[in-house]
């Protein structure tokens, strides 16, 4: 039935969003090989179930339209309601502030101090002592706010 192809597409899209949201944010501006495996492997497995035996162009067309519509709806929800944005994307998390690690945030986000230092280097910060604040953004990037140099 045509309706089931649409339901499968919606289910697949929401399942992927949910699983990737639960899997946690990985730090870094670009996808690492680790992330590629997750994205392509989960995507590939989902595809077989979503398309099923119906490999027609009509089916692909309708499912692509359905996924685009779902994506648009979620984007609208995010923009319209703050709670939806928090649920779909999460909120920024302070990982380090004024020389103090937020250990609960680090361990629950499965991050280490090395991950913060990786990002710090890309911001031109040379060591952890030069960091005033490190924030894990909803997209997974770690933003570094360096300590302001004291005026001489």
């Amino acid at each position: 039935m045509a309706m089931f192809t649409i339901i499968r597409a919606v289910f697949g899209y929401l399942l992927l969003i949910f699983v990737l949201r639960i899997s946690g944010r990985r730090p870094g501006k670009q996808l690492s090989p680790f992330d590629y495996v997750i994205v392509f492997y989960i995507g590939g497995i989902t595809l077989t179930g979503i398309v099923g035996p119906e490999a027609s162009l009509t089916n692909a067309f309708c499912q692509i339209m359905t996924v685009a519509m779902c994506h648009c709806c979620l984007a609208w929800l995010r923009a319209r309601y703050a709670w939806a944005s928090r649920v779909i994307d999460g909120t920024p998390l302070v990982l380090m502030s004024n020389g103090q690690w937020r250990t609960q945030s680090l361990s629950n986000m499965r991050l280490q101090d090395d991950d913060v230092m990786d990002s710090a280097r890309s911001f031109g910060t040379r060591n952890l002592a030069s960091i005033r604040m490190a924030v894990l953004e909803p997209v997974g990037e770690i933003t570094i706010i360096p300590r302001e140099e004291r005026s001489k």
Binding site: G24, P53, R86, L93, S97, S105, M133
Partner: protein
């Protein structure tokens, strides 16, 4: 007519950290989310264990057997199956079911329509279409012999079917097909 852009005054309402940096952190929500995440990981674990055990088909818990009282037929099937996934329905024919070197097997129409019978092995001598099912006649040289019906359910749902060998009581069974 000038097309002036629609504007709105900027409101600095992003929550600040230590009254300094506008981070927008919501630690209370995040703590609730972490609890939810932990519950979901436990649920994922339970689902995987159930899958391995066969709760969703293709495993130990899914296997089922039904026998007639005279042991003429032993039906082996899976209580739980998955849509578009091959499964086998085995009919083990005992000596009591053989009449004149033949065995006559009736299967309800749901085996073909709802459970997607794709192939029957060995090939029957004759196949007859009835109002509610199909009757097959197989030559038998020795017992016990096995008839296999390859299934591939086309859709999800609870499916009921009936199998009967001539001269014996029918076996009624149900299969839950997962999407």
């Amino acid at each position: 007519m000038s097309a002036s852009p629609i504007t709105k005054r900027v409101q600095d309402d992003v929550p600040r950290y230590n009254d300094e940096v506008a981070v927008g952190e919501d630690l209370e929500f995040q703590r609730r989310w972490w609890k939810f995440e932990n519950a979901v990981w436990i649920l994922f674990g339970i689902i995987i264990v159930c899958d391995v055990l066969g709760v969703f088909g293709r495993g130990w818990l899914a296997r089922a057997k039904a026998t007639t009282r005279d042991h003429a037929v032993v039906l082996s099937y899976e209580r739980m199956e998955r849509a578009f996934t091959p499964a086998i329905l085995d009919l083990e024919i005992g000596q009591n079911a053989i009449r004149n070197g033949q065995v006559t097997v009736y299967v309800s129409g749901s085996v073909v329509k709802e459970l997607g019978a794709a192939r029957i092995s060995p090939q029957p001598m004759t196949s007859t279409i009835g109002s509610s099912g199909y009757t097959y006649v197989f030559p038998v040289t020795s017992s016990p012999g096995t008839i296999q019906i390859a299934l591939s359910p086309p859709s999800a749902g609870l499916r009921h079917f009936r199998v009967q060998v001539a001269g014996s009581e029918p076996i009624d069974a149900s299969v839950l097909v997962f999407p």
